[in-house]
């Protein structure tokens, strides 16, 4: 969780087991745990990266994959 998403979640990194099969599945799992965070992840401009590569839409996940959720960037 990066930027303001980290503040909303209250955590930066978390191991989620068992791993959901897809990015959509992960979003659903997170929304179930924390409705406010689930809503924030649907917010405008929020991007997901799987293993440090930006992914649009859904994507399959494997155990050990790293998923990052990024709000709109502030720039340097």
């Amino acid at each position: 969780m990066l930027g303001r998403l980290r503040d909303i979640a209250g955590w930066r990194e978390q191991v989620i087991e068992p791993a959901p099969d897809t990015l959509h599945g992960l979003r659903a799992r997170l929304a179930q745990q924390d409705g406010v965070l689930g809503q924030a992840l649907q917010g405008p401009g929020v991007q997901a990266a799987v293993n440090k590569v930006v992914v649009r839409g859904d994507a399959p996940l494997l155990a050990g994959d790293e998923v990052a959720f990024m709000p709109p960037m502030s720039g340097g």
Binding site: P72, G75, G76
Partner: protein, 151 residues
């Protein structure tokens, strides 16, 4: 050279290192971004930058490569700090070396405009009125827009 770091950034040492031993470049332009004690009149006690190590560096590297090719400059350096930064401390240092100064100025200017709008950082300002996550300012977008057509 592209680097992100949480350690304090020493612009003088970086410029000294970057200029040392160059006999093929007539001009070196540097930009140092400093944390200000106030933005738009509101006091800032600390600026916190969140980065995504392993993702942020390649994104900056891509901007640097674009600048290098577009302006035909010889060498570039970009060092960006993240974590908690106090007023007066350096946030970013960029240097460009070119045979002639025009290319160095253009490339540094371009690179900063791009970094300010496209680099993967997330910024939070903390002041007496609390915390505030910030996004690029309108002038930043206007500055970056200048490069969208060939000049």
């Amino acid at each position: 050279m592209v680097r992100v770091q949480t350690a304090a950034l020493d612009p003088g040492a970086l410029l000294g290192e970057f200029c040392a031993g160059r006999t093929d470049c007539g001009g070196v332009v540097s930009f140092t971004g400093l944390a200000r004690a106030a933005t738009d009149g509101a006091a800032v006690s600390v600026l916190e930058l969140d980065a995504f190590p392993g993702f942020t560096e390649p994104a900056i590297e891509a901007l640097v490569q674009t600048a290098r090719v577009r302006f035909g400059v010889r060498d570039t350096m970009a060092v960006h700090r993240y974590g908690a930064i106090r007023p007066g401390e350096a946030i970013v240092f960029v240097a460009v070396a070119a045979e002639h100064r025009r290319a160095a100025f253009l490339a540094a200017d371009f690179l900063m405009d791009k970094l300010k709008t496209e680099a993967p950082f997330w910024k939070k300002e903390t002041g007496p009125e609390g915390e505030r996550w910030i996004e690029p300012r309108a002038p930043d977008y206007q500055d970056a827009e200048r490069w969208s057509e060939d000049i």
